[in-house]
Subunit: 270 residues, 2 copies
DNA sequence: ATAATAGTGTCTATCAGACATTATCTG
DNA sequence: CAGATAATGTCTGATAGACACTATTAT
């Protein structure tokens, strides 16, 4: 395998003299949509951080940060998530890479988007002015995205409309967000949320994804509540139970649901 | 909106003095799995290029290249595809971003993977030694990936095995390729193909994706053949026609199928 | 005891899978 | 006319959606 290239170099020699950078390189960040359930499972929360520097100074943004030279994007996302929330071993999945040259006014920055689902909503540092973080109420319907936190008096609303267009023989459908409030999200972070939610809802149909927002042992009323939160609509109890029946196993104990007022059977993921 | 940050700078002033690069930046490339049908719809072809430099000198690789400073990843993929094949306006979709720090021995290179589906298999430059390109026969089954070109005597086989593992409460399933021939694909390009095929087959279920491999006007026997090629298994004619019925419209003319021996009705995508 | 919720039974419409039959074209 | 293939008909089992009912428990 000791090929020599057109300059007569072996691979080893080539690598030793290799000079990167024909083109200026982009910075690469990871940004995450982190969702968790409210304590009573009455809604979803999303984690945002307040930017302490330009651009979008004082604007709320998705948590994230630069990918370091010795780590993969997944590792970077995992690290940032732990730094921000203390969460480890939660569901964390790559969604899409955003790369429009002008998406960051500073310099060329690509963002590899991730989504994370947590079974809990841990307290985050709120006082530190430089990197304030907070959980916001999160509502995502067919035509509206509403992110708000009544404690700090912030409300961000985007209308969502479906645009269809064709490119030759190929059809595309896009969900386009339009800002409806004075306050907005930083950068193109709305788009990250939209893409993540589309992917999330699609994947619920063929994966065990909602289980990663449940506790290790859960009741079926609670699991159903999580499904309904993520899907954005109600489910029939009997049908839901048939649907998950072959994926769960009985723990052999009972506990009170987070939701309910009566004891119910505990299950875990098979 | 004329916020001043902790250094007393407005956003404009901040951007003027901004110095990028806390961390060394990665190079970013796009790499593509480009598929097209054989002329008689008896199989799929994949486009590969022979590497003319280290690393993986003389090794076959997916077409791709560096993302330039003024273009998005989609634009880069689109440009590379046109340069390589002359194809424009074909289905081209982002698949996944590969970012392991050691995936390229030269330097840190992330790859944003795309897949493209073409209705035709255009002739590619084969003589030029520096950047030889060729279409290979492509077979992707549940447990095998076979890429070969009998004209130039190249055969590359990977066995595919499903590995399941858990991370806390979260289950994962991965399709792991194992090389079975002397010849291999460059870099982690097998993984790009595997991920692309998984996404492709999943998306066929809820999109019109196979239509982008058909001609503008097509017969149903031909469209079914394309579905079968992409899915990797046979379909029942009657069921297939019911499935696509509400997505097609009658052109009002007949033509001979690519496949068949009798005239059949022409349709187009609604 | 009562109200509320946990848990089960079952009906229906729809759809994918499978196979059979008829219609039409080519040689 | 014969063989092949285009096009349609129909049976079946599985499944999602919808609603009704019974069982259990907290107050």
């Amino acid at each position: 395998m000791e090929y020599r290239d057109k300059n007569g170099l072996t691979e080893k020699e080539f690598l030793a003299q290799y000079d990167p950078g024909d083109y200026p390189r982009p910075s690469v960040t990871v940004d995450m949509m982190v969702l968790g359930p409210k304590k009573d499972y009455s809604g979803l929360k999303i984690l945002l951080v307040k930017r302490g520097e330009h651009p979008f100074y004082n604007c709320w943004a998705l948590p994230g940060g630069f990918v370091r030279p010795e780590e993969s994007c997944y590792e970077a996302a995992s690290r940032e998530l732990k730094e921000e929330t203390g969460l480890k071993h939660v569901f964390l999945e790559q969604v899409y890479t955003f790369s429009k040259p002008d998406r960051d006014p500073r310099t060329r920055v690509m963002s590899v988007a991730y989504m994370a689902l947590s079974p809990v909503v841990p307290r985050v540092k709120g006082g530190d002015d430089a990197l304030e973080a907070a959980w916001f109420d999160f509502e995502f319907t067919d035509n509206m995205l509403h992110i708000y936190n009544d404690d700090i008096g912030v409300s961000i609303i985007y209308q969502l409309s479906t645009k269809r267009f064709r490119n030759g023989n190929i059809k595309y459908g896009n969900l386009v967000p339009t800002l409806k409030t004075k306050t907005r999200l930083a950068f193109d972070h709305v788009e990250i949320i939209v893409e993540s939610m589309i992917k999330l809802r699609r994947e619920i149909e063929y994966t065990d994804l909602p289980f990663s927002m449940a506790k290790e042992e859960f009741t079926l009323p609670d699991l159903q509540a999580i499904y309904e939160l993520l899907l954005g609509h109600k489910l029939y109890k009997a049908n839901f139970r048939i649907m998950v029946a072959d994926r769960i196993e009985d723990v052999g104990a009972k506990d009170k649901s987070v939701i309910g007022k009566r004891m119910s059977e505990l299950y875990r993921l098979k």
